[in-house]
Symmetry: C2
Subunit: 161 residues, 2 copies
DNA sequence: CTCCTATTGATAATGGTTATCATTACCAAA
DNA sequence: TTTGGTAATGATAACCATTATCAATAGGAG
């Protein structure tokens, strides 16, 4: 870092534990990035996160944002999605309050993304079943899945002439 | 085109009809690209298609391959997937013989991709159910879905120490 | 066969993401 | 508290799949 000074990072608690547990350091930029992700319910791009962090501490660089996001994805703390707009989107996945697993509904016209967890229970039941069958037949060890629905949102559905 | 000559394209049949039906021309490069996709069961990148077409007719450019692939995706003839290797993958989806809808099993370690349609029936049941629920609750008109499983293939599962 | 224009090929440009590298900060040990 | 080894960082260049540009060509209706 050239010319920037962070206040000493004396953090503690859940996040610090998560990082330490994985053999990583809980640095100040990482804390800031987590703050942004935690206090937002949107699907943020790396640049979104960068701009937000930048408001509070202009010293944090874009590269660090990318690196941290990738790290958090690896840790399972953040989930990374592609909604077809040419950039990755990130959102908090696991926090002190537990998981928040959900799937997405994407509008092909305006890009609106809706989170839903309503039908996760039913889905989970079948997903488990399918996963079991696939594991057996293809000798595959399934760790995760991706599921998205595409279509037209209420507004875009009406705009069709 | 600068300096290349295609033999007159006197094609007819199913494909020609598909293109005409959508208001497009059935050109020679487009036919070649379709040939490559039709005669392969792999998940080809745009460059893969380009190299293959290039063997027969070096006059076809990469831009045309990209354009044609995008067109075919719009027409529903080809499906475009992202398996996480930084480039889009294409494969035939609809042909004279009908649809070939399937989902994917992706190895997070070696990138192996397995097509499967075995459990589509069970999946389809749930997908329909969930789609109905989501449509109703969120006033969404669902047109398509994306479903992938990630994990370790047989070989990679064994290599873990 | 003619004419209009959709399509094409070569190539430059785009833009999100990654690599590089000198500098800095975290933290365990003294 | 001081020190030292090293993980992490910031600025920036590089990467690279995909798109835009534009003059030239080819498809196909009439
Ligand atoms: Mn979400
Ligand atoms: Mn496939
Ligand atoms: Zn919409
Ligand atoms: Zn594998």
């Amino acid at each position: 870092m050239q010319g920037h000074f962070y206040r000493r990072n004396r953090g503690s608690g859940w996040w610090q534990g998560q990082f330490k547990g994985c053999g990583y350091r809980f640095t100040f930029p990482r804390r800031l990035i987590l703050d942004v992700l935690s206090s937002s319910s949107m699907h943020l791009s790396a640049e979104d996160v960068y701009l937000e962090v930048h408001k509070k501490y202009p010293g944090v660089g874009l590269a660090t944002v990318y690196r941290t996001l990738e790290l958090l994805v690896q840790m399972g703390v953040v989930s990374k999605s592609d909604f077809g707009d040419g950039r990755a989107r990130y959102e908090m996945n696991k926090g002190p309050e537990g998981q928040r697993h959900h799937h997405h509904l994407v509008c092909s016209n305006c890009g609106l993304v809706i989170d839903y967890a309503d039908f996760i229970d039913e889905e989970a039941k079948l997903l488990k079943k399918v996963e079991r069958g696939l594991s057996e037949k293809y000798k595959f060890e399934i760790n995760s899945h991706l599921m998205q629905f595409y279509g037209l949102c209420e507004k875009c559905k009406g705009k069709k002439d």
